[in-house]
């Protein structure tokens, strides 16, 4: 049976709730409504209000309350509803969630998941479309993961709930309704591993979350141009899987990092730096980025100009014909 990413996330929470009595799901509207994206649909009905419950509308409250519950032995999975709505909880996330294990020299840990639907592409109005990954990946102590496929939505969320570390779980909301065949056996790679989604010889596209599908589309389109594009899906933004990424770039000799967030000071800069440091002698061209513009996320009717698309990525790949070796294999 094919499953949407939203359903896969729902199944992951249900299976975690079944497997561990300490798992609790809470946030605003996650109960009777099933979340504004219906990701928690039916969980309260099936597991009861003790396991999945609505809270007052207060993001710092939700995360701070989860800190206390985790200190008390529970494994909270909380929903922030929308990316920019999580900012009131930022202090709790950076000052407490990320640091409690370290502050207490391991005496206390916070096995909790903060689910944040993020990024654009759904025609949302302002404050509903931010890509805030750089804020979280810049914070030691947090794990940050983001699924690009429905299968990963299930696998990564199961792993995140099981993780002894707090996990910021970024859900690409524009992919909630994309469906595929999903296996609920958890046979995928570990949470902190990147995967090669599509092998190729000429250039590595490094993408994550909402851009994985765009990168795969680009790879298909690039075939017509004679380019054989490899797509690496990072899955885990923090920690970063250098091994998979650098192995790919060393094979292809060229790399483009794609993300929806603004480029300046963004997550892609970290990826470029790491790839450059580790693959300098194999690179035929500078590692380039395709990112969102350095502007506040635009109004819905203009968002298409913000979002990296196939054409923009193809144009950037074309710029990689820097050295004598052409990008086009065998040309």
């Amino acid at each position: 049976m094919t499953t949407t990413m939203a359903q896969a996330l729902n199944a992951a929470m249900r299976d975690a709730l079944k497997d561990d009595d300490n798992v609790v799901v809470f946030g605003e509207d996650v109960g009777a409504l099933g979340g504004v994206f219906r990701v928690t649909d039916g969980i309260t009905a099936d597991f009861g209000e003790d396991r999945c419950f609505d809270t007052p509308l207060a993001e710092a409250g939700i995360v701070g309350f989860a800190v206390g519950m985790a200190m008390g032995g529970f494994r909270p999975v909380v929903e922030m509803q929308f990316d920019a709505f999580a900012y009131p909880a930022f202090e709790q996330i950076t000052s407490h969630v990320a640091k409690l294990r370290n502050r207490t020299r391991g005496a206390l840990s916070l096995p909790m998941v903060i689910r944040i639907p993020y990024a654009g592409g759904i025609g949302g109005v302002e404050h509903h479309c931010d890509s805030s990954e750089a804020y979280y990946t810049h914070t030691p102590g947090l794990r940050v993961v983001t699924p690009g496929t429905a299968q990963d939505a299930y696998d990564l969320l199961r792993d995140a709930i099981d993780s002894p570390d707090p996990v910021v779980f970024l859900e690409p909301k524009c992919r909630y309704w994309s469906s595929e065949e999903v296996s609920f056996t958890r046979s995928g790679p570990a949470m902190d591993q990147a995967v090669v989604r599509r092998p190729g010889k000429d250039v590595t596209l490094i993408a994550y979350g909402p851009m994985v599908a765009t990168a795969l589309e680009t790879a298909e389109a690039a075939k017509e141009e004679g380019w054989d594009v490899e797509v690496v899906d990072l899955r885990s933004l923090s920690p970063f899987d250098d091994e998979t990424v650098t192995a790919s770039v060393r094979r292809t000799g060229r790399a483009v990092v794609v993300h929806e967030a603004a480029g300046f000071g963004g997550y892609g800069a970290e990826v470029v730096a790491r790839v450059t440091e580790q693959c300098f002698h194999q690179l035929h061209a500078p590692v380039l980025r395709v990112t969102g513009l350095d502007i506040p996320f635009p109004a819905p009717k203009l968002e298409r100009h913000q979002l990296p698309d196939v054409d923009r990525i193809l144009d950037t790949i074309a710029r990689l014909q820097w050295a004598d070796t052409p990008v086009v294999a065998g040309a």
Binding site: A60, G64, F65, M71, R101
Partner: protein, 358 residues
């Protein structure tokens, strides 16, 4: 719940007047046992001496910083005494004396302020959360933990200490709201010491009393003379019992005063007059309880002498502890960032190790 039952007393609950004589604004609260009050007195003498010693140690460079709680000993000691072993205390950076009264060792309490580590004790064992530096954030943790204990059918209560400044923070209001909605067994204990660093209470809040903040959230609230140990202990005992008996959270405001500056790095003469401080020195909680207990024949001169002598010995322990510089392992910096070290951190650890050995 009817609003009337949530209302605090019209004036702060008080058992003992400033001159140590019996006062009668106790609003129906019962007086704690004489033995309990004597123990409170002992700990207040100890706490005062600890506070003086810690302040002195900042001048010798043994502590990076120390925020004094001199004048707030009644609140500090009562907060610790009112809790049972299974209960959780959520202190701030100013609440070192409460931690001493809870039974922690001076070295454990001062680790944060000395600059050795962010927390010097094991919170899971002591049931004392790390001393919190961001304001009011720990009120939410206390609420969540109280809810967790209730869900598990445990008998525990969480008590969060905060100051007047912290009541302006959003987290304080979110915590009160969550606690009331979830009927969490948590006590919010506001030590209104009149100043948030330099900002006086009048500029902090237009409320007649911070105790009134609880009513809007549907929470029982009370105000108490924070320099009257008998009253603070009585009110907190009642609040903790209320929470333990599954009646929901309680907000208690203690009206008190910070005699010393915010920390040793602060110049309090810039923002308050000497005669104001002098007036509050007259309301000293330690001498007030001493006078009262002596008049009640609960405390003898010999006992007072003994407590003071014990406090001197304790101060010596504090000095000895702080004079012995512990060896800090730079490589431990990479421990406990994650449950298992990441490859990045292992690489950085190796780099630092090489740097240290070079």
């Amino acid at each position: 719940m009817a609003t009337e039952t949530l209302l605090p007393s019209a004036s702060p609950v008080r058992f003992v007047a400033e001159d140590g004589t019996r006062a009668d604004q106790h609003g129906g609260y019962g007086e704690p046992s004489r033995e309990r009050l004597k123990e409170a007195y002992r700990l207040m003498v100890l706490g005062r001496r600890f506070d003086v010693q810690a302040t002195a140690l900042t001048k010798q460079g043994r502590l990076a910083v120390y925020p004094s709680s001199a004048g707030q000993e009644a609140c500090q000691v009562a907060a610790a005494l009112t809790l049972a072993k299974q209960d959780w205390l959520f202190p701030t950076y100013r609440d070192s004396v409460a931690l001493i009264a809870r039974g922690l060792k001076p070295g454990e309490v001062l680790t944060l302020l000395r600059g050795d580590a962010h927390c010097g004790y094991n919170p899971a064992e002591t049931r004392v959360a790390p001393q919190c530096t961001p304001l009011a954030t720990q009120t939410l943790h206390a609420t969540g933990l109280a809810h967790a204990m209730q869900r598990r059918g445990e008998d525990g209560v969480a008590l969060a200490l905060i100051g007047d400044g912290a009541t302006s923070e959003g987290d304080f209001h979110e915590a009160l709201n969550f606690a009331a909605v979830f009927k969490a067994p948590v006590v919010f204990f506001v030590q209104n010491n009149r100043y948030a660093i330099s900002v006086p209470f009048e500029k902090q809040s237009a409320a007649a009393a911070l105790a009134y903040k609880g009513i809007g959230y549907g929470m029982r609230s009370e105000q108490v003379d924070g320099n009257d140990a008998v009253a603070v202990l009585s009110v907190l005992d009642d609040a903790v019992k209320h929470a333990r008996d599954k009646n929901g959270p309680v907000l208690v405001e203690a009206h008190t005063y910070r005699i010393d500056a915010h920390t040793n790095a602060d110049d309090a003469t810039r923002y308050r007059e000497a005669d104001e401080v002098a007036k509050w020195r007259e309301a000293d909680p330690v001498t007030r309880l001493e006078t009262y207990l002596k008049a009640q024949k609960t405390l003898s001169d010999n006992e007072i002498e003994q407590f003071r002598s014990d406090a001197e010995d304790f101060a010596q322990t504090v000095r000895d502890t702080l004079n012995a510089e512990p060896e800090l392992d730079p490589l431990s910096l990479f421990d406990h960032v994650y449950a298992e070290p990441t490859r990045h951190l292992e690489a950085q650890r190796a780099a630092l190790k090489a740097e240290l050995e070079a």
